[in-house]
Amino acid sequence: MTRNDKVIILGEDVGVNGGVFRATDGLYQEFGPNRVIDTPLAESGIIGVSIGMALYGLRPVPEIQFMDFIYPGFDQIQSELAKFRYRSGGQFTTPVVIRTPYGGGIRGGHYHSQSTEAFFAHTPGLKVVIPATPYDAKGLLTAAMRDPDPVIFLEPKKIYRTVRGDVPNEEYTVPIGKANIAREGNDVVVFAYGTMLHVAMEAAELAAAKSINVEVVDIRTIIPFDIETIMNSVKKTGRVVILHEACKTCGFGAEIAAQIAERCILNLKAPILRVAGFDVPFPYVLEDEYLPNATRVLAAIEKVYNF
């Protein structure tokens, strides 16, 4: 924001209050009410107004308080944000970065927990980015804010407070579209992103105790996803577990599985397994049963390993 005075933050409670998760804490005080704008409570307005600002050449970074509340703005995202460049033949562009906390693990019930990245991944024209570490959060957000295309930036809300990591003060970017090999291994690969990366790492530790050498790949960018890194890990291990907290049917894991099946089915030594949320609305009291945990992931790892 210091580097580019065209960057504008807007959303509900993002100003004086610094955001309900404190993501914009201190920015109002530093940059003032013309750069950090509290808005009326209307998601289609936040996103629609951001589009108008981007058309004028600004770099709006709207916040939607919870991903569960983004749907009044879905028409703006799907029909407008994602299509402006295409429908205008490249004349009008809308480089908006929509930040929104997603996912479970905070006892939030249906409406503060969902993980619906697949809706956005199914819309050509959008990029969908999901950091899993503090370092990547800064680097990917900086990259998103410099990207010429609209980005849906999903922040795993459980790890706002539970995961700590060093973040350099100086500026840097983490490239959009590149996965990260979070742990190297030869026997089984687990593909994960967001909060589930940490579950995958925990499961990999448990597997190591059983002498199963697990590779963990942090997908980081859902669209466009890093097909090269994915395929390399599949070829290396031949055994695949895909992990996400979104419900299983038509989740993003289905896309990864289909890509693997299309490209390197002969490299597989076992069926591809998915560990995902159940196909139910996100629960409240049975959240721990719903969310994939290390035990469940370990079971899948063992199943493909022993196939």
């Binding site: 589009i51 010429p148 466009p224």
Partner: protein
């Protein structure tokens, strides 16, 4: 009350109205003849959108719906650009990606429209807010119909504009029909204009078939907005004299009698009579204008119809600034499919 517009400018406005009317007629014909896929016209609404667009400066921005064809012509979008879009050919700046009249040209600040109703309204507010934050003295104007006032984005846009006092003119063309539904089925409000009260700014109702009244009303709103006075909602009362689109038959839901009543208030005829009474327009002027505008349309049609379809790769370009790997792969597959098709 007559606005201060020079004789030459009045004649120019009439000419744009006549050109728009003739273009609409031709567009529908071309569709009926199977030469273009679809047409959606502005028949009967010329005064409302041309008069309002005339109140703007070139640096102002327009966020259209799709039935404001004359406002495109007035702002400098050319017949060639439009006909290339109608024929969706290789010179269409949008690469044949949208149906007829969903169009825009950046260099004249006319934003490319879309088919979902009212989605452009918050954009007009966002651009106005951006300009206000940057200290640029520009105004945004957005067009929409009576049906759009039922949509979320109408209310959201109006609300944001009221809260931030943005320099925005909300221009509703109340043409009485949203496809088959009369305006009474959209709202129980006495007028659309009074809805502005709820958002804390002024709403005005104007005879949308009187181009001079439309111009003056819009000019006042635009000047107020430019001076920091905030938004205005204008309801221009007009009538959709044609079908919703070439896919629609209005005989199914409205009476011939109603149409005939409104034909008596045809905005084009009204303005021509005004010019005639002022001694600015003659039978010869009319003949010449009809002849010239139709010839210009003929030329643009002939040019556009000769051109080939957009290139294959335009299916994949402009989705993103740079083509990602999956689109490159799909383009390669399509090219291969075409090559094999040619070999067979």
């Amino acid at each position: 009350m007559e606005p201060e517009i020079s004789k030459d400018e009045l004649k120019r406005l009439y000419r744009v109205m006549a050109l728009t009317r003739n273009l609409d007629t031709r567009g529908s014909q071309l569709q009926r003849q199977g030469r273009i896929g679809f047409y959606i016209g502005s028949l009967g609404q010329e005064a409302a959108h041309i008069g309002s667009a005339y109140a703007l400066k070139p640096e102002d921005w327009v966020f259209p719906a799709y039935r404001e064809i004359g406002s495109m012509l007035l702002r400098g979008i050319t017949l060639n650009q439009l006909l290339d879009q109608y024929f969706a050919n290789a010179e269409d700046v949008q690469n044949g990606r949208q149906v007829t009249n969903l169009f825009g040209i950046k260099t004249v600040n006319y934003v490319t429209g879309s088919a979902p109703i009212a989605t452009q309204i918050p954009h007009a507010v966002g651009t106005a807010l951006a300009a206000k934050l940057r200290g640029d003295p520009i105004v945004t104007l957005t067009y929409f119909g009576d049906g759009a006032t039922s949509e979320n984005d109408f209310h959201t846009g109006m609300n944001f504009a009221g809260v931030y006092k943005t320099p925005t003119v909300f221009f509703c063309l109340n043409n009485h029909w949203a496809i088959s539904l009369p305006v009474e089925r959209q709202t129980a409000s006495e007028t659309i204009a009074i809805k502005a009260q709820a958002y804390g700014f002024e709403g005005i109702r104007v005879d949308g078939n009187d181009i001079l009244a439309v111009y003056q009303t819009t000019k006042n709103a635009v000047e107020k907005a430019r001076k920091g006075g905030g938004p205005t909602l204008i309801e221009a009362v007009t009538y959709r004299m044609g079908p919703h689109s070439t896919s629609d038959d209005p005989k199914r839901y409205r009476t011939e009698q109603e149409l005939e009543e409104w034909q008596k208030r045809d905005p084009l005829v009204r303005f021509r009579k005004y010019l005639e009474r002022k001694g600015m327009w003659s039978e010869a002027d009319e003949k010449k204008t009809q002849h010239e505008t139709n010839r210009e349309i003929d030329e643009a049609v002939q040019h556009a119809e000769k051109l080939p379809k957009p290139a294959l790769e335009t299916l994949f370009t402009d989705v993103y600034a740079e083509m990602p790997w999956n689109l490159e792969e799909q383009l390669r597959q399509l090219r291969e499919e075409k090559r094999q098709g040619d070999d067979n």
